[in-house]
Amino acid sequence: SFNEYKLNFKKSKEACLNYIQEAVLQKQWKRAAEFLTSYAEALEKDFSKGSSCPSEIIWRIGTEILCHHPHSSMREFSSFIEQMKTLAVKRYLKVCLEHSFHLLCNGMIDEASQNLSLAVSWRFGEQSILQAKEMKLIQAYEGLLDYYRWSKQKNVLLERGEDEYEDLSVEREMHSYFRKAALNLKEIIQVPGVWDIFVKCYVDLLEFYGDNEEARQVLKEYAYNSKFPSNPNAHVYLYQFLKRHGESKKSLISVLKILHDLVPSHELMIDFNTMLQKSKKRRNRRLGLEVIFAVLDYAGWKENMKAWSCLARQVKQIVSSEKDLDWIKQVWDCRKDWWPAFHFSHYLAKRNWQENESLSYEKALVAGILLGKDCKYFRYVSKQGCKAQVKRFRTLKKFVHKHSPIYLRTSG
């Protein structure tokens, strides 16, 4: 009966897909290709109008197989993709985009660009409206490729030097690339999303032509617009831009402060800390202490020499001056129940001493001040240091013993 036929057909289709999956996952590309051909052939015989043609499956698997098949060529790949484009109007632009990616990964930038511009001019009634999102992306990538061409031309011109700078045609070409790229890139970065690469390229273009105001505006929008997903890179780009243009310390600090709130473990926090420590304002120095403590909360920084020496320096400074001890008390209060186990255990003392003597020195200093001279970490490291006749460990011991009353005040 027809129903039975349909059921059997469905079953064999599923079985065939299973075969393909098995083969693909075991890297048997030829086997997979054969299965795929029979799958496609079987679909041609599908007279049941109920289900739509699983063209996406064929497209995805076919691309995957053709990418790895030992006998496939770029030409075959392209012709397959062309077939897929006509087969699935609903995802025409997606197919185009992925095809361009494939071309780009194989170094065929011109073909990819051609492909993209063809896709941009594609019109298919309602379908082109439904795929507006993909269209924007395609335009953005077109802009990106134009940007690369532009920067190539730029490098050519810069290499030629002053005397040949008069080459107008090259320059004109470069400017036309700029215009196209700027137009397309500007479009995409107004849509909320993570567009790091496009923003960077666009800002580079603007900076080259001296439009710093626009660049700053773009970066600020990208970092501060609440419609965009929270993205630490946006703040980093803004900070780098401001730093390039010699902005005031104050504005740099305000950018980094927001980054600190978002991602306390960011690499830039070390720069931020040094910047704050150099600041004359007490409030900033205090923030600096908080920043470096927050950095060391994170497992990724646990054995970072730079961070520990920053902290040790600042703590030492505060303790020697015997001013602002309440700062230490405050940041220490919410950490004293877990930092000892996290940073200053006996096991870590042994390991740090074996692996990195300087690290253990910095950590021992901090431990000695925060936990007192009886702390396991400090005792172990100072004992080992004195045994090894290293001078700085002896001064460290003296320093901590001298300031041991501070421990009572900060821990109390």
């Binding site: 098995e22 996952l25 075991q26 890297k27 086997r31 029979s38 030992p70 630490p232 994170y298 877990w338």
Partner: protein
């Protein structure tokens, strides 16, 4: 300036890891104490043709909870009716004798009721059946008071439990995380520990030392702990040089500490009890003795061995949108005080110091991650060993890598196409510049996938990308073909055993001088541990894959030409009728495994050592199988009422002998054993019954079988054939006489002899005499698939009653009937019967069945088919 380079996000060049073994290899001896079979849909679903009728009204599965209830009543009568039975036993009369007149008013004769029930049972499924009045009356009367537990309450509970079992059959999320863990050795050593559950109910925790030689092997006997529930998850983390092992069972969580040095004994630290089942337990990689626990009610706790439990949040609702699943999960993040908290809709990070105020969304099922419709979080894990701020989120469709610093937008997404949702994940981090190896595992299908990804390097500009090609690893069930050939039912048992859902996995990266290998351990729900090795092959110039060449058939469409595949495709249809309720994915997985195992050649011939392991494992399993667990039923009341004391006393004959027998019986009952033989001192009759003397008039089948058993089957045949010759002549004469009378010949079904006559006529027609000594394949034993049907087919062969009495399960009766009916329907065209020896044995049966089947068909309307 450097030329611009584009790198694919997925599928760049990765490392090549090739399987070193042809299939998974057993690591430890089988968990012989586990003999409880898995619950299958047939156990709890209605499987009669009534199902179709009933499911018209209510879509979805129909739970057969009356079956469970009746099992309970029969198996535990003491618990079901104990006290009232005791009170009322005077008012029930058991036995065949009539009720005495004086007590007839307040006594019920149970035997009559039983007869009615049996009659009812025989007509089960008949829509026109009517309850017999006295049964209905009894049911009405006793419904309220007879049961120890009120029937409604009991029914509700049973139904609830069945529903639970059914949802677990569809998807069991209690196993999330997996119950197998590897405790790596201290640097340089080769002895690590494997932590896994075992025992009858998977309630024993084992710490087994494993030596990582060329082949991993267990060393010594494992440290063992007996726990108070089935172990669902084993979680570990190492901090401060010690391993902390968290064990989750439904209502208890415990933590063990295992010192890093080899040989040190694991020490239990603390146990907590939860009122609702716990769904997650993870161990902190940052602080020793710290864990997080989630319960199904929506609570998350931070558990410190020293300071105790701290509840961070309690919210029965899901986070981002409404989802019915009570499953919750949590893990640690880069910050030791910040925990991730997940339900099916997404992930949040919350600060343990101020859980109400400080939290942010890490992953949401929705637009940001471009999730599909119906996509749900299955397993989130913290990838701290690879990158301090990255997490993996696995859904039933995809895997995502998310970064705490860039929340909500995944940095990597990949469609994994696994048939079942991944419940286990293992990370084995790569060194600088190397890819991280990520293993994903699913439970019911035993699938395992190996992915490689390259994380963003610290300070570097490279983005997170999937490299290499996702690779499928061996499942436990794929090693079936590497075992020795088994008897069919042993083979089936073995297949079932190996096909048990996966319960956990663990991975070890091992470096031996130049050779790197990845060891993957797998645990099945039956408690067996298997392993497989993958060796790293340093990149070579791409050569044509020899394996690929070998399998590439010259034909264009291997699917339809492959002889191995097509019969199975057909076979699957039949299977479906039997177990329609089974999840399709499971069936497919099995099928595909079966199918795909055959055409591809094994990559590496399994070495002697692994062959030995298979053999040993099988030996361990079969030794256990031969001695099935003895069930001891508690003595039930009532048997003695069958006979009164007086009746029993009169039966006593020879008193000394009798007493001895009684004593022996009692002793056997006390020991729970059985009486092998009586060996009474003055036994006139021998203990072993003599085979009955073959009588002259006994049926031919039994004589033939007896002859075959004795070994002189040939002689029997000769005797028979000479006997037939005479008989045939007689029959021919008879026939001629009948033809003369002008009556139609109708004696096909009369007897075996007449049909054999018919057959010998045929052989006469074709001109070949029946060979004097036919040598049949397997003459000694009847063919397995078609046992020679009994020749004394009575009319009732196909009636429900007789099928029932033959022990044929209800659900198969219809199949059998249909099958027999089909056989009978074929018109008897004599010339089409193959004239081989086999057919001579087959024909009589089909002939005689034909008549009875036609009678059954006549019966049908009355039976309600």
């Amino acid at each position: 300036q450097a030329e611009v380079m584009f790198v694919p996000h997925c599928g760049g060049t990765g490392e090549s890891w090739e399987p070193a073994d042809a299939a998974a290899v057993p690591l430890l001896p089988p968990n012989t104490s586990c003999s409880i079979p898995q619950v299958v849909p047939q156990d709890i679903l209605y499987h009669s043709f009534l199902r179709r009728k009933l499911s018209m009204d209510k879509p979805g599965p129909l739970l057969d909870f009356t079956k469970q209830l009746s099992h309970f009543f029969v198996d535990h009568p003491e618990d079901a009716f104990g006290s009232l039975g005791q009170l009322l036993h005077k008012n029930f009369h058991l036995g065949d004798s009539r009720v005495k007149k004086e007590v007839r008013d307040n006594t019920i004769r149970v035997t009559a009721l039983m007869e009615e029930i049996n009659r009812l049972e025989a007509r089960r499924g008949c829509p026109w059946k009517r309850l017999i009045c006295c049964l209905r009356w009894f049911a009405h009367l006793s419904r309220d008071w007879l049961f120890e537990v009120p029937l409604g309450l009991l029914g509700d509970s049973v139904h609830e439990e069945l529903q639970l079992q059914w949802t677990r059959l569809l998807f069991d999320d209690r196993l999330t995380g997996g119950a197998l863990a590897w405790l790596p050795p201290e640097d340089g050593a080769r002895v690590g520990r494997l932590v896994y559950p075992g025992g009858e109910a998977m309630n024993r925790l084992y710490f087994q030392e494993v030596v990582l030689d060329k082949l991993p092997r267990a060393r010594g006997s494992p440290a063992e702990f007996e726990l108070n529930g089935r172990i669902q998850q084993v979680a570990t983390a190492r901090s401060d040089g010690e391993d902390f092992v968290g064990i989750r069972s439904d209502y208890h969580c415990g933590v063990w500490r295992v010192p890093g040095r080899a040989g040190a004994a694991p020490a239990p630290l603390q146990v907590i009890h939860t009122r609702v089942p716990a769904s997650c337990l993870t161990v902190s990689p940052h602080l020793p003795g710290e864990l997080t626990v989630c319960t199904q009610g929506g609570s998350i706790y931070l558990w410190n061995v020293e300071t105790g439990l701290q509840r961070l949040r309690h919210d029965p609702q899901t986070m981002f949108f409404r989802d019915h699943s009570p499953w919750r999960w949590s893990d640690f993040t880069a910050h030791p005080r910040v925990l991730s908290f997940a339900d099916r809709t997404g992930l949040q990070c919350l600060d343990a110091r101020a859980p109400e105020r400080c939290h942010f969304d890490l992953f949401k099922v929705g637009e940001e991650a471009r999730c599909q419709q119906g996509e749900r979080v299955m397993l989130p894990i913290y990838l701290g060993k690879a990158h301090p701020s990255q997490h993996l989120v696995a859904t039933q469709f995809s895997v995502y890598v998310v970064d705490e610093r860039l929340p909500l937008v995944p940095v990597l997404k990949w469609l994994h196409m696994m048939k079942a949702p991944p419940l286990f994940a293992q990370l084995s981090p790569g060194d600088a510049g190397r890819s991280h190896k990520l293993l994903l595992g699913a439970s019911p299908t035993q699938e395992m996938l190996l992915l490689q990804y390259q994380g963003e390097r610290r300070g570097g500009q490279s983005a997170c990308q999937l490299v290499g090609h996702p690779q499928k690893l061996h499942s436990i069930s794929s090693c079936l073909e590497h075992f020795q050939t088994q008897l069919p039912h042993h083979h089936h048992l073995l297949q079932q055993r190996l096909g048990a859902p996966a319960a956990g996995m663990a991975a070890v990266l091992k470096k031996d001088r130049q050779q790197e290998s990845l060891l993957v351990f797998q645990l099945s729900e039956a408690g067996d541990v298997f392993y497989q090795r993958l060796t790293h092959e340093v990149a070579q110039p791409p050569a044509p894959d020899s394996r690929d060449e070998a399998t590439a058939a010259p034909g264009s469409s291997p699917l339809f030409e492959d002889p191995a595949s097509s019969p199975l495709l057909l076979g699957s249809k039949e299977e479906e009728e039997e177990d329609a309720g089974r999840p399709a994915a499971m069936e497919e997985a099995e099928l595909s495994q079966e199918r795909c195992a055959s055409p591809k050649p094994s990559p590496v011939a399994s070495s002697k050592a692994t062959a030995l392991r298979y053999r040993r494992w099988l030996k361990g399993l079969s030794e256990h199988c031969r001695d099935p667990p003895r069930h001891s039923y508690p003595p039930t009341r009532g048997q003695k009422r069958l006979f009164t004391r007086k009746e029993l006393q009169t039966l006593v004959g020879d008193s000394a002998l009798h007493r001895q027998a009684q004593q022996k019986m009692r002793q056997a009952m006390l020991e729970g054993g059985r009486i092998q033989h009586w060996d009474l001192p003055d036994s006139q009759t021998s203990a072993v019954p003599q085979p009955p003397e073959p009588e002259q008039d006994t049926d031919t089948l039994s004589t033939r079988l007896t002859a075959a058993w004795a070994g002189d089957w040939n002689r029997w045949w000769e005797k028979r054939s000479s006997f037939y010759k005479a008989q045939r002549q007689r029959a021919l004469q008879e026939r001629r006489r009948r033809q003369k009378r002008g009556r139609r010949w109708q004696g096909l079904s009369a007897s075996f002899t007449s049909s054999l006559t018919y057959q010998s006529e045929l052989s006469e027609l074709s001109g070949t005499d029946p060979p004097p000594s036919p040598v049949l394949p397997g003459a000694g034993s009847p063919p397995r698939h078609s046992p020679p049907p009994s020749l004394e087919l009575d009319e009732g062969l196909l009636s429900s009653q007789s099928l029932h009495s033959r022990g044929i399960p209800k659900e198969r009766r219809k199949t059998l009937r249909d099958y027999l009916g089909l056989q009978a329907e074929g018109p008897p065209e004599p010339l089409e019967f193959p004239l081989s020896q086999d057919s001579q044995l087959c024909i009589p049966s089909s002939q005689s069945q034909r008549s009875s089947a036609s009678q059954t068909r006549r019966k049908r309307p009355r039976m309600g088919f």
